[in-house]
Symmetry: C2
Subunit: 194 residues, 2 copies
């Protein structure tokens, strides 16, 4: 998606450790109008008329997933990290390793809000190694729900999480896949054909 | 807001420890169309034409804050909990105690995204003792920004966080204030006049 790539080129910053910061519009300060454009773009790749929900993981996926769900007319469910006293029993769980926080976490979704009748579009703001994404996929599978597709705003292609999912046959589309990032230059992969 | 109270009466569940679960539409599975109605209701109490941003705290406030910000035409910023490697230097910080998770956490907002020129509407899904809210207020004050108002969807009135802010003179409005909650019955406070 050229508008997203242009925005990353203009506002993104590359930090040591292959960290690409786009927190001015995507995952700290959120430009919600721009998120609507991303939601429209996802709708070119996925048949959003057949989904029953959008699933994401807390915290930074929630804003984009909310705009998408609102636009597609379905509820948004976010997997929570770790266990709070507010979620009792009846949970789907998946252990993940957070690349961002360098520690393990458990993603949980209440069984009440995801079941075999659901057709799920997973939406996330960022994907690197794909650990959190694998956790979301595991949860969809545990529920016996149908995974319609996986939409990611920014994928770090050089960390190969996305390509691993592609090789496994998942219907995954990232709006901007970063092949290489240095402080001076960011190289993007060509967009998937619609 | 009668529609919200009705929804809490119909779908809310009261658990031991004064926990009120509304995770079917507000903070796990999110009914984004209903969030639009909440956003419209907040706009009756606050002059949203003068705000420059909506501020909330991760994670469960993000969905509602996103819908509000999108409707009001301003960016949404969410305070992050704890420190990740992705946020370097230049931070506003506030230590809070999470009633939900029974532990301390630090709310952080990058100074880049909040400054003295900002007019801030804080939006959160839930308020009990108000610890997280105090953290957000501290951050707005640390930035020298103007706090236009505080909008909360569901306030647990019997835990007095909201009343403490009212006594301090904050422009705070909660769409549903729960005065008493038992497994059989929930009593609400009367709505604030517009």
């Amino acid at each position: 998606m050229e508008a997203l790539k242009e925005r990353i080129r203009r506002e993104g910053r590359v930090l040591p450790g292959n960290i690409i910061k786009v927190d001015g519009f995507l995952n700290h300060r959120v430009d919600t109008a721009f998120m609507e454009e991303l939601a429209d773009e996802f709708a070119r790749y996925f048949d959003v008329s057949k989904i029953t929900m959008v699933l994401t993981a807390e915290a930074s996926g929630i804003a984009l997933a909310t705009i998408c769900a609102n636009k597609y007319g379905v509820p948004m469910v976010f997997a929570k990290k770790a266990k709070s006293d507010n979620i009792e029993g009846g949970l789907y769980q998946s252990e993940i390793f957070s690349y961002t926080y360098k520690k393990k976490a458990t993603l949980i979704v209440a069984q009440e809000w995801l079941g075999p009748e659901d057709k799920v579009l997973i939406i996330d703001d960022f994907m690197a190694k794909g650990y959190a994404m694998q956790g979301l996929i595991d949860i969809v599978n545990a529920a016996g729900a149908e995974l319609v597709g996986i939409g990611v705003a920014v994928e770090k292609g050089f960390q190969h999480g996305g390509d691993s999912f592609r090789e496994q046959g998942y219907n995954i589309h990232s709006l901007a896949v970063i092949e290489e990032a240095t402080p001076d230059h960011i190289t993007f992969r060509e967009d998937d054909p619609v």
